[in-house]
């Protein structure tokens, strides 16, 4: 271990790092925490290391929309590895409503964690009294308000997306968004403001019907460096409409940034979405500290797909230093 002085802002700066003493102190803390864990009625280890002691739930029922879906499985695995309390799992894809009600009655969980929209809808129908945490639900805002409910949103905050756009493509200065004001007016206002933080002008084109999307894309294409595809039910009402959107962008010679890997086959240059394992870990902390958790949390881990073939197609300058932030590369 290399021993060099460290600086402590706001603290006594004369302290020097003493590796032996620090290791002993850290070991003592860890042993103390481990002792507390061994005698505690609940396992409070996070990732195998006992850290914060929080009075969390005693038992959690995990309801998955479909355990065979990789992204749901990734969320669940990270949650189970992090939450440190006993869990029981149910796969809604293989469970009837009546079976779910019986499961809830039998297990009497302190908390139900739902992964995916179907799981949440099924659980919310099955119980009115149990606290529910849910994540990985598309357009989660459409669900009616329910007491004792917490959610981890399914899209990265606009600031995070725009920061990553700028990180990968420093030359992109103007991004166009086709949106329906009835659903995403506030979202666009937030995006315009966040764009100001990174030096990207976000320009919106409003549509009220799917039939208007083509004109909106063409109108934007001539004046922007890229199009930003966001979850909007008017713009993306069907698979065909999604395909049409990308074809229009291609015809107009404009690259597309997308919010979900579901669109990879359609040819976006960059996909910036939430990292599933991080959602699971965030959910674990919400579950452990329910009373202090926010009603809505943003996912904070990102998963990035970069299509170098498309980068070359559109002759875009991209920042090679950003490659250590890429999860998947398409050539």
């Amino acid at each position: 271990m290399i021993a060099r002085p460290t600086r402590f802002f706001g603290m006594d700066a004369r302290r020097r790092s003493d590796p032996v003493r620090r290791r002993a102190a850290a070991a003592a803390v860890a042993l103390g925490l481990l002792a507390m864990t061994l005698h505690a009625p609940r396992d409070t280890r996070i990732g195998g290391v006992a850290l914060a002691q929080v009075d969390g739930p005693g038992k959690i029922l995990i309801v998955s929309s479909d355990r065979s879906v990789a992204k749901y499985a990734a969320v669940q695995a990270a949650f189970e590895a992090s939450v440190g309390v006993p869990t029981v799992e149910v796969d809604v894809a293989a469970t009837s409503e009546a079976q779910l009600r019986r499961m809830i009655a039998r297990t009497d969980p302190d908390l139900i964690y739902c992964i995916g929209s179907n799981a949440y809808q099924a659980a919310a129908d099955a119980t009115r009294s149990k606290p529910i945490l849910f994540s990985s639900a598309i357009n989660w805002q459409r669900f009616p308000n329910r007491k004792q409910t917490r959610v981890i949103a399914n899209e990265l905050p606009v600031t995070a997306q725009l920061t990553l756009f700028r990180h990968f493509f420093p030359s992109v200065r103007r991004i166009g968004v086709v949106f329906s004001p009835a659903i995403n007016r506030q979202w666009l206002e937030d995006a315009v403001r966040a764009g100001g933080e990174v030096g990207i002008e976000v320009v919106g084109s409003r549509v009220r019907r799917a039939g208007q999307v083509g004109d909106a894309v063409r109108e934007l294409a001539s004046g922007v460096d890229a199009l930003w595809l966001t979850p909007d039910p008017v713009v993306l009402g069907s698979v065909e409409e999604a395909r049409r959107y990308f074809n229009l962008a291609e015809s107009a010679g404009v690259p597309v940034f997308a919010y979900s890997p579901a669109f990879i086959e359609l040819g976006p240059v960059l996909v910036v979405g939430p990292d599933m394992a991080t959602i699971g870990r965030q959910a674990a902390w919400v579950a452990r500290d329910w009373e202090n958790a926010r009603d809505v949390s943003s996912p904070v881990g990102s998963e990035v797909t970069l299509n170098l073939k498309r980068v070359q197609r559109f002759r875009m300058d991209f920042n090679h230093d950003a490659l250590d932030a890429v999860n998947h590369l398409i050539r």
Binding site: A3, R23, H167, A322
Partner: protein
């Protein structure tokens, strides 16, 4: 320049695990590095997503290379059997520092009590960094912290901005990078502590490398001299490899 090598001495494998990043890019690394090595000795890379499997393979190997965090190397029980031969370079430096950055409401380390700390490193590495940066008379803070592991430094820093974490442990260069991309988010961060200089990623080899391993060492050194190699190095956050100096090597094996 990329030297096309013939199949002279067989191929070797570079095994890779980093305690300093949690990004899931293993398939990408495998595809990209193997395609590069295909015309340069036919060597392979084998990324690992966990320390246990990585060390199990290392314990059972007598050949090939092992690429890891310099901190991880110092923790190895079997490091006597493996000598550091190469060290990573980034922005002409072979070391980096880690920092604790917090939201504007935090005035000092004591304010971190019971807070969520975002980090891209493994839990073990993060705890090591925190115990290093938190002074001895505040070590009881460690037991109150909630560590949220995220894929990359930029995620950890933005988590502070979004209020999901009270603070983030990242590399100093990660903070600088955010400052270039999003100055406003950077301005909202308050630096609470800075850690010591640590060597970047290192490559460890057997004390008597076989010809294939020696060839792979040369291939790695060569990567910084051509575009395709530099592109792959960027995926590891590096610009090049260089032979590790005797002083750096001595500090690691102590």
């Amino acid at each position: 320049m990329l030297v096309i090598r013939g199949d002279g001495g067989g191929s070797a494998t570079a095994h890779f695990f980093s305690s300093e990043s949690s990004i899931n890019n293993f398939n990408m690394l495998k595809t990209e590095f193997d395609s590069l090595f295909a015309s340069a000795g036919g060597h392979k890379i084998q990324p690992f997503n966990n320390r246990v499997d990585f060390e199990r393979i290392l314990a059972g190997s007598r050949t090939g290379l092992f690429v890891m965090s310099s901190w991880h190397y110092t923790q190895l029980a079997t490091r006597a059997q493996w000598k550091p031969v190469l060290i990573g370079v980034h922005n002409q430096r072979t070391t980096q520092r880690h920092v604790i950055s917090a939201g504007p409401a935090f005035r000092g380390l004591a304010d971190l009590n019971s807070q969520t700390i975002a980090s891209a490193g493994t839990l073990e590495f993060t705890m090591e960094l925190l115990s290093e940066m938190i002074p001895p008379d505040h070590q009881d803070l460690l037991g109150t912290l909630r560590i949220l592991i995220v894929p990359k430094d930029i995620d950890a820093l933005l988590a502070v901005g979004f209020g999901v974490a009270g603070a983030a442990v990242t590399t100093e260069s990660g903070v600088e990078k955010l400052g270039r991309i999003n100055p406003r988010q950077r301005e909202q961060l308050r630096q609470l502590a800075v850690g010591p200089e640590r060597p970047l990623l290192i490559v460890a080899a057997p004390h008597r490398p076989d010809p294939a391993t020696l060839d792979l060492i040369e291939v790695l050194l060569d990567m910084g001299t051509h575009e395709a190699g530099r592109q792959r190095l960027s995926m590891l956050g590096l610009d090049a490899w260089m032979p590790i100096g005797p002083e750096q090597s001595e500090e690691l094996v102590e």
